[in-house]
Symmetry: C2
Protein backbone atom coordinates (compact mmCIF):
# COMPACT_ATOMS: atom_id res chain seq x y z
CA UNK A 1 0.00 0.00 0.00
CA UNK A 2 2.71 2.46 1.02
CA UNK A 3 5.70 1.66 -1.14
CA UNK A 4 9.29 2.73 -1.15
CA UNK A 5 8.92 5.96 -3.09
CA UNK A 6 6.02 6.94 -0.88
CA UNK A 7 8.17 6.38 2.18
CA UNK A 8 10.79 8.71 0.77
CA UNK A 9 8.14 11.33 0.25
CA UNK A 10 6.74 10.84 3.74
CA UNK A 11 10.19 11.01 5.29
CA UNK A 12 10.93 14.23 3.48
CA UNK A 13 7.58 15.84 4.24
CA UNK A 14 8.02 14.94 7.88
CA UNK A 15 11.35 16.75 7.86
CA UNK A 16 10.03 19.73 5.94
CA UNK A 17 6.29 19.94 5.72
CA UNK A 18 6.47 23.04 3.55
CA UNK A 19 8.93 21.73 1.01
CA UNK A 20 7.79 22.78 -2.45
CA UNK A 21 6.71 20.05 -4.78
CA UNK A 22 9.77 20.75 -6.89
CA UNK A 23 12.23 20.30 -4.04
CA UNK A 24 10.38 17.17 -3.04
CA UNK A 25 10.42 15.72 -6.53
CA UNK A 26 14.13 16.35 -6.79
CA UNK A 27 15.09 14.83 -3.44
CA UNK A 28 13.04 11.69 -4.00
CA UNK A 29 14.07 11.49 -7.64
CA UNK A 30 10.96 11.74 -9.75
CA UNK A 31 9.19 14.21 -11.97
CA UNK A 32 7.20 16.99 -10.39
CA UNK A 33 3.91 15.71 -11.72
CA UNK A 34 4.43 12.14 -10.56
CA UNK A 35 5.53 13.40 -7.19
CA UNK A 36 2.62 15.74 -6.89
CA UNK A 37 0.13 12.97 -7.64
CA UNK A 38 1.66 10.67 -5.05
CA UNK A 39 1.52 13.35 -2.38
CA UNK A 40 -2.10 14.02 -3.23
CA UNK A 41 -2.88 10.29 -3.02
CA UNK A 42 -1.19 10.05 0.36
CA UNK A 43 -3.27 12.96 1.58
CA UNK A 44 -6.55 11.61 0.25
CA UNK A 45 -5.96 8.10 1.55
CA UNK A 46 -5.28 9.55 4.97
CA UNK A 47 -1.68 8.39 5.27
CA UNK A 48 -0.84 12.05 5.57
CA UNK A 49 -3.42 13.24 8.07
CA UNK A 50 -2.39 16.87 7.96
CA UNK A 51 0.40 19.39 8.22
CA UNK A 52 1.48 21.41 11.19
CA UNK A 53 3.86 24.12 12.19
CA UNK A 54 6.06 22.96 15.05
CA UNK A 55 6.08 25.62 17.72
CA UNK A 56 8.83 25.87 20.35
CA UNK A 57 6.91 25.35 23.55
CA UNK A 58 8.89 27.61 25.88
CA UNK A 59 9.39 30.39 23.39
CA UNK A 60 5.65 30.47 22.86
CA UNK A 61 5.03 30.93 26.56
CA UNK A 62 4.23 27.43 27.78
CA UNK A 63 6.68 26.97 30.59
CA UNK A 64 5.17 23.95 32.28
CA UNK A 65 4.40 20.45 31.12
CA UNK A 66 3.79 17.15 32.81
CA UNK A 67 3.09 13.51 32.26
CA UNK A 68 0.05 12.14 34.07
CA UNK A 69 -0.65 8.55 34.94
CA UNK A 70 -4.37 8.10 35.28
CA UNK A 71 -6.33 5.09 36.52
CA UNK A 72 -10.07 4.71 36.32
CA UNK A 73 -12.22 3.30 39.13
CA UNK A 74 -14.11 1.05 36.76
CA UNK A 75 -13.86 0.29 33.08
CA UNK A 76 -17.47 0.30 31.92
CA UNK A 77 -17.83 1.94 28.53
CA UNK A 78 -19.86 4.59 30.28
CA UNK A 79 -16.88 5.82 32.29
CA UNK A 80 -14.31 5.14 29.61
CA UNK A 81 -16.26 7.02 26.95
CA UNK A 82 -16.82 9.94 29.27
CA UNK A 83 -13.14 10.09 30.11
CA UNK A 84 -12.10 9.91 26.46
CA UNK A 85 -14.62 12.51 25.41
CA UNK A 86 -13.45 14.99 28.03
CA UNK A 87 -9.80 14.43 27.32
CA UNK A 88 -10.34 14.88 23.59
CA UNK A 89 -11.74 18.35 23.94
CA UNK A 90 -9.28 19.62 26.51
CA UNK A 91 -6.56 21.31 24.55
CA UNK A 92 -3.95 21.28 27.31
CA UNK A 93 -3.87 17.51 26.84
CA UNK A 94 -1.60 17.07 23.89
CA UNK A 95 -1.38 13.30 24.08
CA UNK A 96 -3.35 10.51 25.67
CA UNK A 97 -2.57 6.82 25.39
CA UNK A 98 -4.27 3.79 26.86
CA UNK A 99 -1.48 1.54 28.06
CA UNK A 100 -0.69 -1.72 29.76
CA UNK A 101 0.80 -1.49 33.24
CA UNK A 102 -0.21 0.14 36.49
CA UNK A 103 -1.93 3.15 35.05
CA UNK A 104 -4.70 2.93 32.49
CA UNK A 105 -3.74 6.12 30.67
CA UNK A 106 -0.66 8.20 30.00
CA UNK A 107 -1.31 11.87 29.30
CA UNK A 108 1.00 14.68 28.34
CA UNK A 109 -0.25 18.08 29.40
CA UNK A 110 1.15 21.49 28.45
CA UNK A 111 0.25 24.74 30.22
CA UNK A 112 1.61 28.25 30.65
CA UNK A 113 2.68 27.88 34.28
CA UNK A 114 2.24 25.86 37.45
CA UNK A 115 -0.78 27.88 38.38
CA UNK A 116 -2.50 26.86 35.19
CA UNK A 117 -1.54 23.26 35.87
CA UNK A 118 -3.09 23.42 39.28
CA UNK A 119 -6.28 24.77 37.78
CA UNK A 120 -6.16 22.05 35.15
CA UNK A 121 -6.15 19.41 37.89
CA UNK A 122 -8.79 21.03 40.09
CA UNK A 123 -11.19 22.18 37.43
CA UNK A 124 -10.81 19.40 34.95
CA UNK A 125 -9.00 16.24 35.88
CA UNK A 126 -10.35 15.73 39.40
CA UNK A 127 -13.88 16.36 38.21
CA UNK A 128 -13.94 13.56 35.68
CA UNK A 129 -16.24 10.85 37.07
CA UNK A 130 -14.74 7.48 37.82
CA UNK A 131 -11.14 8.57 38.29
CA UNK A 132 -9.34 6.33 40.75
CA UNK A 133 -5.91 7.83 40.79
CA UNK A 134 -3.85 10.56 39.15
CA UNK A 135 -0.09 10.75 39.48
CA UNK A 136 1.76 13.78 38.12
CA UNK A 137 5.29 13.61 36.82
CA UNK A 138 6.50 17.09 36.03
CA UNK A 139 8.67 17.32 32.94
CA UNK A 140 12.03 18.72 33.99
CA UNK A 141 13.56 18.71 30.54
CA UNK A 142 12.43 17.89 27.06
CA UNK A 143 15.20 15.76 25.68
CA UNK A 144 13.38 15.08 22.44
CA UNK A 145 9.96 15.89 21.04
CA UNK A 146 9.69 14.34 17.64
CA UNK A 147 6.79 13.70 15.35
CA UNK A 148 8.54 11.94 12.50
CA UNK A 149 7.99 8.21 12.14
CA UNK A 150 11.28 6.32 11.68
CA UNK A 151 11.04 5.23 8.04
Amino acid sequence: MVEEQDEKILAELQKDGRATNQQLAETVGMSTSACWRRVRALEESGVISGYSALVARERAGFATSAILHVSLERHDTKFVDEFVARVMQRREVLECFATTGDADYHLRVVVRDMDAYNRFLDEFMFRIPGIRHVRTNVILKEIKTGVALPF
Copy 2:
Protein backbone atom coordinates in the same frame (compact mmCIF):
# COMPACT_ATOMS: atom_id res chain seq x y z
CA MET B 1 7.49 38.93 22.63
CA VAL B 2 4.81 36.74 21.08
CA GLU B 3 1.73 38.91 20.89
CA GLU B 4 -1.89 38.30 20.17
CA GLN B 5 -1.74 38.44 16.40
CA ASP B 6 1.24 36.12 16.45
CA GLU B 7 -0.70 33.65 18.53
CA LYS B 8 -3.49 33.67 15.99
CA ILE B 9 -0.96 32.92 13.29
CA LEU B 10 0.65 30.17 15.33
CA ALA B 11 -2.70 28.61 16.14
CA GLU B 12 -3.66 28.60 12.49
CA LEU B 13 -0.33 27.26 11.26
CA GLN B 14 -0.53 24.50 13.85
CA LYS B 15 -3.93 23.53 12.46
CA ASP B 16 -2.81 23.78 8.84
CA GLY B 17 0.91 24.01 8.32
CA ARG B 18 0.49 24.40 4.59
CA ALA B 19 -2.06 27.17 4.64
CA THR B 20 -1.15 29.73 2.00
CA ASN B 21 -0.11 33.12 3.17
CA GLN B 22 -3.31 34.53 1.71
CA GLN B 23 -5.59 32.17 3.64
CA LEU B 24 -3.58 32.88 6.75
CA ALA B 25 -3.76 36.64 6.29
CA GLU B 26 -7.49 36.45 5.84
CA THR B 27 -8.22 34.23 8.85
CA VAL B 28 -6.09 36.33 11.20
CA GLY B 29 -7.31 39.57 9.66
CA MET B 30 -4.33 41.37 8.25
CA SER B 31 -2.76 42.16 4.94
CA THR B 32 -0.79 39.49 3.14
CA SER B 33 2.47 41.36 3.43
CA ALA B 34 2.16 42.08 7.12
CA CYS B 35 1.18 38.49 7.73
CA TRP B 36 4.03 37.17 5.65
CA ARG B 37 6.54 39.25 7.53
CA ARG B 38 5.25 38.08 10.90
CA VAL B 39 5.44 34.46 9.86
CA ARG B 40 8.97 34.97 8.65
CA ALA B 41 9.91 36.64 11.94
CA LEU B 42 8.41 33.75 13.90
CA GLU B 43 10.44 31.34 11.84
CA GLU B 44 13.69 33.24 12.16
CA SER B 45 13.31 33.81 15.88
CA GLY B 46 12.76 30.08 16.33
CA VAL B 47 9.24 30.30 17.70
CA ILE B 48 8.27 28.23 14.70
CA SER B 49 10.96 25.56 14.73
CA GLY B 50 9.79 23.84 11.56
CA TYR B 51 6.93 22.29 9.66
CA SER B 52 5.96 18.66 9.41
CA ALA B 53 3.54 16.40 7.66
CA LEU B 54 1.57 14.41 10.21
CA VAL B 55 1.61 10.78 9.18
CA ALA B 56 -0.99 8.27 10.39
CA ARG B 57 1.12 5.80 12.32
CA GLU B 58 -0.78 2.60 11.60
CA ARG B 59 -1.51 3.38 7.97
CA ALA B 60 2.19 3.95 7.45
CA GLY B 61 2.99 0.52 8.80
CA PHE B 62 4.00 1.21 12.40
CA ALA B 63 1.75 -1.13 14.33
CA THR B 64 3.48 -1.06 17.69
CA SER B 65 4.30 1.69 20.12
CA ALA B 66 5.13 1.84 23.78
CA ILE B 67 5.92 4.13 26.65
CA LEU B 68 9.10 3.33 28.55
CA HIS B 69 10.00 4.37 32.04
CA VAL B 70 13.75 4.41 32.37
CA SER B 71 15.89 4.89 35.46
CA LEU B 72 19.62 5.39 35.49
CA GLU B 73 21.97 3.70 37.93
CA ARG B 74 23.81 6.93 38.60
CA HIS B 75 23.37 10.51 37.50
CA ASP B 76 26.89 11.65 36.71
CA THR B 77 26.97 13.83 33.62
CA LYS B 78 29.00 11.07 32.04
CA PHE B 79 26.11 8.61 32.12
CA VAL B 80 23.42 11.17 31.57
CA ASP B 81 25.13 12.65 28.53
CA GLU B 82 25.72 9.22 27.07
CA PHE B 83 22.10 8.27 27.57
CA VAL B 84 20.84 11.51 26.03
CA ALA B 85 23.21 11.24 23.08
CA ARG B 86 22.11 7.70 22.28
CA VAL B 87 18.44 8.47 22.64
CA MET B 88 18.74 11.51 20.41
CA GLN B 89 20.03 9.56 17.46
CA ARG B 90 17.69 6.59 17.76
CA ARG B 91 14.79 7.38 15.48
CA GLU B 92 12.35 4.92 17.03
CA VAL B 93 12.40 7.16 20.09
CA LEU B 94 9.94 9.86 19.18
CA GLU B 95 9.87 11.51 22.57
CA CYS B 96 12.04 11.57 25.65
CA PHE B 97 11.39 13.57 28.79
CA ALA B 98 13.29 13.86 32.04
CA THR B 99 10.65 13.83 34.76
CA THR B 100 10.09 13.90 38.46
CA GLY B 101 8.82 10.70 40.05
CA ASP B 102 9.97 7.11 40.16
CA ALA B 103 11.49 6.96 36.72
CA ASP B 104 14.09 9.40 35.49
CA TYR B 105 12.89 9.39 31.89
CA HIS B 106 9.71 8.83 29.96
CA LEU B 107 10.19 7.67 26.37
CA ARG B 108 7.71 7.05 23.59
CA VAL B 109 8.91 4.52 21.07
CA VAL B 110 7.33 3.64 17.73
CA VAL B 111 8.22 0.53 15.71
CA ARG B 112 6.78 -1.61 12.93
CA ASP B 113 5.94 -4.63 15.09
CA MET B 114 6.64 -6.39 18.36
CA ASP B 115 9.65 -8.07 16.87
CA ALA B 116 11.19 -4.74 16.11
CA TYR B 117 10.42 -3.60 19.62
CA ASN B 118 12.16 -6.60 21.05
CA ARG B 119 15.20 -5.82 18.95
CA PHE B 120 15.02 -2.22 20.05
CA LEU B 121 15.27 -3.30 23.67
CA ASP B 122 17.98 -5.92 23.16
CA GLU B 123 20.17 -4.10 20.72
CA PHE B 124 19.74 -0.58 21.96
CA MET B 125 18.12 0.09 25.28
CA PHE B 126 19.69 -2.69 27.35
CA ARG B 127 23.13 -1.82 26.01
CA ILE B 128 23.12 1.75 27.21
CA PRO B 129 25.60 1.95 30.10
CA GLY B 130 24.28 2.86 33.51
CA ILE B 131 20.66 1.82 33.00
CA ARG B 132 19.13 0.70 36.27
CA HIS B 133 15.64 -0.20 35.21
CA VAL B 134 13.38 -0.17 32.15
CA ARG B 135 9.65 -0.70 32.36
CA THR B 136 7.60 -1.06 29.19
CA ASN B 137 4.01 0.04 28.92
CA VAL B 138 2.62 -1.02 25.58
CA ILE B 139 0.27 1.47 24.00
CA LEU B 140 -3.08 -0.23 23.50
CA LYS B 141 -4.82 2.72 21.94
CA GLU B 142 -3.88 6.19 20.87
CA ILE B 143 -6.66 8.34 22.23
CA LYS B 144 -5.01 11.55 21.13
CA THR B 145 -1.73 12.49 19.54
CA GLY B 146 -1.61 16.23 19.21
CA VAL B 147 1.17 18.65 18.47
CA ALA B 148 -0.70 21.94 18.74
CA LEU B 149 -0.02 24.09 21.79
CA PRO B 150 -3.26 25.30 23.41
CA PHE B 151 -3.20 29.02 22.58
